[in-house]
């Protein structure tokens, strides 16, 4: 065995050499933006699972019209975290094999700050006039547009119109109606209050609705203001009073929907996807007795958090002129209508919400327009993962009463400022 003893150090040395090589090549900078701007050729489009078969027909249509600039569609998994990690890996490798990517609204700032996205300015400028302003804001980082709005999403208030003929327009009004729920022996209001991303959405809505903000324009935290505190206090107080049922701290989207469809909940904050299910599900007991309204606010419609996806061009793409044309095609009014009819995906163009055909098919559109018009993007910051952690952990403690609202907001302020001061 004498020989193997010599081989072991040899192997270690060769591995060390590999490590050093990997380290020295690991940090070389980018600077790929603003090159290949006029180049045309075949490109790749990436997005998560195409559940309702929207993308394939569109790509086929494009390919038929552009035989020399064919698009290959790469489909990722349906898990948002996996999509994020897959994009990060490919962008980091700087191979340019993902030319156009569908990016969740909350990732846009992070990818832009990494220099992975081609700024949509100068020759790459796209026409944003038709888009809803809030959706354009999600694609904007440091006053530069990095991604074009593709689909949107906003919160809606689902309510029992058999119990409450006129939906509440303000939070206080809604809390006042909870006695009706109590008289009928059902729960009053629920959103998504389990400790996960949905809680960030709901808390940001509460804070924005009360006139506060989570971060300012420069990404600095602003949750220690009286308005922000009042927002979180609304939720904490409602939970304490029992207006929000105690099991709501375990609710994600689906648990709340099931409770509402079973007739056990009077008001539900959820996304538009619930509309069709509540109308058609065999187990839904509220098919004909539910209505939709904008989220209740302070003295008018509340501020929804904005969901949806943006389209961005990889800074290391080889054929950016093609990528830009494809991006324009994928966000055109015609395509947007196809998203809405085929996939129930909310359009980002204002005029489509008044399209009679569309409204007939998707009756929630006018209400959703109000929601999106009043919507505020979740914190636009490259440190989003750390910021959402800070919001989730502290607001969860405040809602279930294990921390005072004041303390939670102080901690949240400190935690966000730690997260963004790197």
């Amino acid at each position: 065995m004498r020989h193997s003893k010599k081989i072991a150090p040899l192997a270690i040395v060769s591995v060390l050499a590999m490590v050093l090589a990997a380290c020295s090549s690991g940090t070389s900078g980018g600077g790929a933006a603003a090159s290949n701007l006029d180049a045309r050729g075949p490109i790749t489009y990436v997005q998560g699972k195409d559940n309702s078969n929207v993308i394939r027909p569109l790509v086929d249509k494009w390919n038929a019209a552009h035989p020399n600039e064919k698009v290959t569609f790469k489909e990722q998994s349906d898990n948002a975290d996996q999509q994020h990690d897959d994009l990060v890996q490919h962008f980091q490798a700087k191979t340019g094999d993902y030319d156009v990517a569908s990016v969740d609204v909350i990732w846009t700032a992070e990818f832009a700050a990494q220099g992975w996205l081609e700024p949509l300015k100068d020759s790459m400028t796209i026409d944003t006039a038709g888009f809803l302003p809030a959706t354009v804001a999600t694609g904007t980082y440091k006053d530069v547009l990095y991604a074009a709005p593709q689909t949107s999403d906003g919160g809606l208030l689902y309510y029992r119109k058999d119990l409450v003929p006129t939906p509440p327009t303000t939070w206080d009004e809604m809390m006042g109606m909870c006695s009706i729920a109590k008289a009928n022996n059902i729960d009053c209001y629920a959103g998504q209050f389990a400790q996960y991303e949905g809680l960030t959405v709901n808390v940001a809505e509460a804070i924005n609705t009360a006139g506060g903000t989570v971060v300012d324009k420069d990404g600095k935290p602003t949750v220690d203001t009286p308005q922000a505190k009042a927002g979180l206090n609304n939720l904490a107080q409602a939970y304490k009073d029992g207006n929000i049922p105690k099991q709501a701290v375990t609710y994600q989207e689906e648990q709340g929907r099931q409770s509402f469809e079973a007739g056990k909940l009077m008001f539900l904050r959820n996304w538009p996807y619930v509309y069709n299910l509540a109308k058609t599900d065999g187990s839904s007991t509220v098919k004909d007795t539910f209505g939709i309204a904008p989220l209740p606010g302070k003295d008018g419609p509340g501020a929804s958090s904005l969901g949806g996806h943006n389209l961005a061009i990889n800074a290391t793409s080889k054929y950016k002129a093609t990528a830009k044309d494809f991006l324009t095609f994928m966000t055109s009014a015609e395509t947007e209508k196809f998203y809405a009819t085929q996939g129930s995906l909310a359009p980002v163009r204002a005029d489509l919400y008044a399209d009679a055909d569309l409204v007939k098919q998707l009756p929630y559109l006018p209400v959703l327009l109000t929601s999106i018009k009043n919507a505020v993007p979740r914190p636009v910051t490259p440190f989003y993962p750390a910021v959402t952690q800070a919001i989730q952990q502290n607001s969860f403690a405040a809602i279930n009463g294990s921390k005072s609202v004041d303390q939670a907001m102080t901690d949240m302020q400190n935690a966000i400022s730690t997260a963004v001061s790197k």
Partner: protein, 346 residues
């Protein structure tokens, strides 16, 4: 292992031992034989060593190198990320001393940051490890003793016991997530209204129940293997000598099954120390169920280099625990296995 290593304790030592035995008389011929044998052995082992170096040594060293780099920071003027440079032990201080960057320098990590969760995550990890392994050992032993008896349908029972272990952990976790939902089976069955995933105590209990359900069979089978190594004659002799059932268990079963038991416990402890899927799926790490592995994965999304430091710390913790087990509690998979094999051959 004690200070003196038995030459034949490790299987790999056989070659040198044979060389030693041949000493005296035909030294030259024996030496050449050893040399060619040694060369052949080296050639045969080399690919394995290289593969091991690439898949184990490289990532470990790379992680350690990364852990001394600072996470990237934001250039205020351009809004772009810039690489952080050398960090020294800052990443380790971040976790172990709970130091976080604040606008005015460095301070204690505020609640809600990942940095503030290191010690609680360590506590949670050890809590889960101690409690689950405790229950799994006792239940596993009990199951193994029953399975070791001869009765009709024994093989069916053994196969049935394996079912929880055969289901992928992620599937198990999702299953228990539904079972412990507010409108789930447990609450319906017991007419209770416990928020299983809504507060700390119940959330931890739910994860412990799921883990015990899933891994007790593994424990039981390892202990069963140990029980079956004990010859029946020993029990017969003890019976003839008038030993009671409790005496037979305490003086024969326990000491003779101890090597297998310790290996089983060691495996489970190492497994439990890196527990990820059950809490990740059942609670998402909320309500005081964030283990070190969950913290590492959360941190990867925020910054790679601090995550590298955290996983290095986790690696060291697990290494130390394994070392203590092997050194002081006599749980040595290699030694006992080869020793046992030798016994059998005789």
């Amino acid at each position: 292992m004690s200070t003196h290593v038995e030459p034949d304790a490790l299987p790999g030592r056989n070659a040198s031992r044979r060389g030693g035995d041949n000493k005296g008389g035909k030294e030259v011929g024996a030496d050449r034989k050893v040399k060619t044998q040694g060369r052949a052995a080296a050639l045969l082992v080399a690919p394995t060593l290289i593969v091991l170096a690439v898949v184990i040594l490289y990532p470990v060293i790379n992680a350690i190198v990364m852990s001394f780099q600072q996470d990237q920071g934001l250039d205020a003027a351009t809004g772009l990320f810039v690489s952080g440079g050398f960090a020294g032990f800052a990443n380790y201080a971040h976790w172990l001393l709970q130091q976080c960057p604040t606008p005015s320098g460095t301070g204690t990590c505020p609640p809600g940051t990942l940095g503030a969760q290191f010690w609680s995550a360590t506590g949670v990890t050890f809590f889960f490890t101690v409690v689950t392994v405790f229950f799994e050992t006792i239940l596993g032993f009990w199951m193994a003793v029953i399975m070791a008896r001869t009765f009709r349908g024994r093989s069916v029972l053994r196969a049935a016991v394996l079912v929880p272990w055969a289901i992928p952990t992620a599937v198990t976790a999702k299953l228990w997530f539904f079972i412990f939902a507010f409108d789930g089976i447990v609450n319906t069955l017991f007419h209770s209204s416990i928020l299983w995933t809504g507060s700390q105590g119940p959330a931890r209990a739910a994860i412990i129940i799921a883990d015990v359900w899933k891994t007790t069979p593994f424990m039981a089978l390892l202990i069963l293997a140990g029980l079956q190594m004990i010859p029946a004659e020993v029990y017969e002799a003890a019976k003839v000598d008038g030993a009671s059932a409790w005496q037979r268990f305490r003086l024969i079963t326990l000491p003779l099954v101890k090597p297998a038991l310790m290996v089983a416990i060691l495996f489970r402890v190492l497994d439990a120390l890196r527990m990820y899927d059950l809490p990740a799926i059942m609670t998402g790490g909320a309500n005081g169920t964030t283990t070190l592995s969950i913290l590492v994965v959360d941190q990867i999304r925020v910054g790679f280099n601090s995550a590298a430091a955290l996983s290095t710390i986790t690696f060291l913790i697990i290494f130390i625990v394994a070392f203590i087990f092997v050194r002081f509690l006599g749980a040595n998979a290699v030694d006992s296995a080869s020793g046992r094999a030798k016994e059998k051959l005789k």
